[in-house]
Symmetry: C2
Subunit: 312 residues, 2 copies
């Protein structure tokens, strides 16, 4: 099989594959009109880089230099798509009335909403000049909801804030069951700020591993602000981190302690004490878990920003 992947049709040249061994083929056919055939692998991540690195630049070259189309993406967290759209409604109306260049689009995915500003112009610089005032107005309207631009991830922004603070974090998870730690460790170099975490899925482990007092569990239940806060305090102390971040809730589909699927409590413990707050998340089990891990990351981001503002 692997030998066969190295075979090529007569006259073809290989397309570079930076992600695996699946072959890519480029074959020029004489005209008229002349044609180029590209064959790429079906595995999405292999196809993606091959298309971006090899095929797209050639297609653009062959099409002649196009007029500049420039995108600027503002990334938000902690706001649903309808809240983002509402915050930007005036700006969108204004742009539509004045010809739709730049244009604004909303892209919601995995609990985050991106705001894409697109401008068309003769040159890239001219497109950027069109984007600048729209970006400024959008940032003002989004406030703290906007955490970054273009390819920045929420994870990398939180790691960056922790580094600026000289701080570390540890996680205590129930509802998110490891996904929150998984997000912190997504980023290369995350060991500088993420120490580790505890997944206390069984209720008694919240007591044994994290030191959540038994009477808190008995009086308030495992799904409560009080337990979320005690989990955050416990993991912060036991792992020796600057911040402890905890999730507890109901992923669904079944009720737990009489509370519905989508219930989330986030606890944060840090140098200034501990706090907790509750959210209700929509969607099925998978989405609730994804939204919950995004919400927890975003909650820590807002605490770090508030502390920064308080010191500044």
């Amino acid at each position: 099989m692997n030998y066969r992947q190295a075979d090529l049709p007569v006259g073809a040249t290989p397309l570079r594959n930076q992600r695996g061994t699946a072959p890519g083929v480029r074959l020029e056919l004489s005209g008229p009109p002349p044609k180029v055939v590209y064959a790429m692998p079906g595995v999405p991540h292999e196809m993606y880089v091959m298309f971006t690195d090899e095929v797209l630049p050639e297609l653009m070259r062959r099409a002649g230099r196009p007029a500049a189309i420039v995108h600027r993406v503002l990334r938000t967290a902690g706001m649903w798509e309808s809240a983002v759209a509402e915050a930007l409604a005036d700006e969108v109306s204004r742009l539509q009335a004045s010809g739709g260049n730049p244009a604004i689009a909303f892209l919601a995915s995995q609990g985050q909403t991106r705001v894409r500003i697109t401008a068309r112009a003769a040159t890239r610089d001219e497109a950027l000049r069109l984007i600048a005032p729209v970006e400024e107005a959008a940032r003002a309207a989004l406030g703290l909801g906007c955490y970054g631009v273009d390819d920045e991830s929420l994870e990398s922004v939180v790691h960056g804030l922790l580094r600026e603070h000289g701080a570390t974090v540890a996680t205590a998870e129930s509802l998110t069951g490891g996904l929150l730690a998984g997000r912190f460790t997504d980023t290369p170099g995350s060991s500088a700020t993420f120490l580790g975490g505890v997944v206390a899925y069984a209720t008694e482990l919240k007591h044994e591993l994290l030191g959540v007092p038994s009477d808190v569990l008995r009086e308030h239940g495992a799904v409560s602000d009080e337990t979320a806060m005690a989990m955050a305090v416990g993991v912060r102390e036991r792992l020796g981190a600057t911040y402890g971040l905890a999730t507890t809730g109901v992923a669904g589909p079944d009720l737990q302690e009489g509370k519905p699927a989508g219930t989330l409590h986030i606890g944060i413990a840090g140098p200034d004490g501990a706090s907790a707050h509750a959210l209700r998340l929509p969607g099925d089990r998978n989405l609730v878990r994804t939204y919950a891990s995004v919400s927890a990351l975003d909650a820590l981001r807002r605490v770090l920003l508030a502390r920064q503002a308080g010191r500044g």
Copy 2:
């Protein structure tokens, strides 16, 4: 925004959205020829169910009852696509020589390879009769590599085996950083078999939280079979689980302890003692972490199957 989502063009009917509030629209246009326009949301998971539940059945009805096309998917883990293809090469050749019905396709994604057997016939029963002997031959060729069929997930199969054994599991993660626990908790009802886990990302936490002896860490390093085994033993004891499952390795992009990105050590501790083995995984950081969590789940599956066979 939410009110506007309830607006419909004159003459249109709404398409049911079981996953969110984004609107779907169905509009019949008089002919000739008569046409139907469907407008669906851009959010993939909302579009997906709307298409499957509402649009596809109508399209099939309008097209007239088609001849039966039946798929059967065999799911494998612990085998790369080329190994799966090699195991089934004879069966594929035989089917191609005899007209390609049924046909076999290989679908690789996220560290797992699916084998899709497709048959076309006048009726569903006839298609199923064509598939049966091909499935039997494929299962024999794949052996333990085949863990399930159709929509079964590796996670649900492992949970099922644990339930059959009356066993529980706890995870100790370094390289996978929470993703392995995240997979165990993907499945509703997972709390029956998954107790919890520890993400010991910082090396000293492997000692403090999991009791990996300091001299093991010093002599063999954090990325070693010895540490993986000690992590599995530690988490099994501390969380009181039947099995402890551990990952340590190098996600990349940088070397760690002189070992290259893609190095993975899996440790398993259970009633019959502890073991560890090493793998080298391809791909970038994200893929290495995904492959590593699949490999660890699959390793536990194989231990549970071996124990079952030993008792049987």
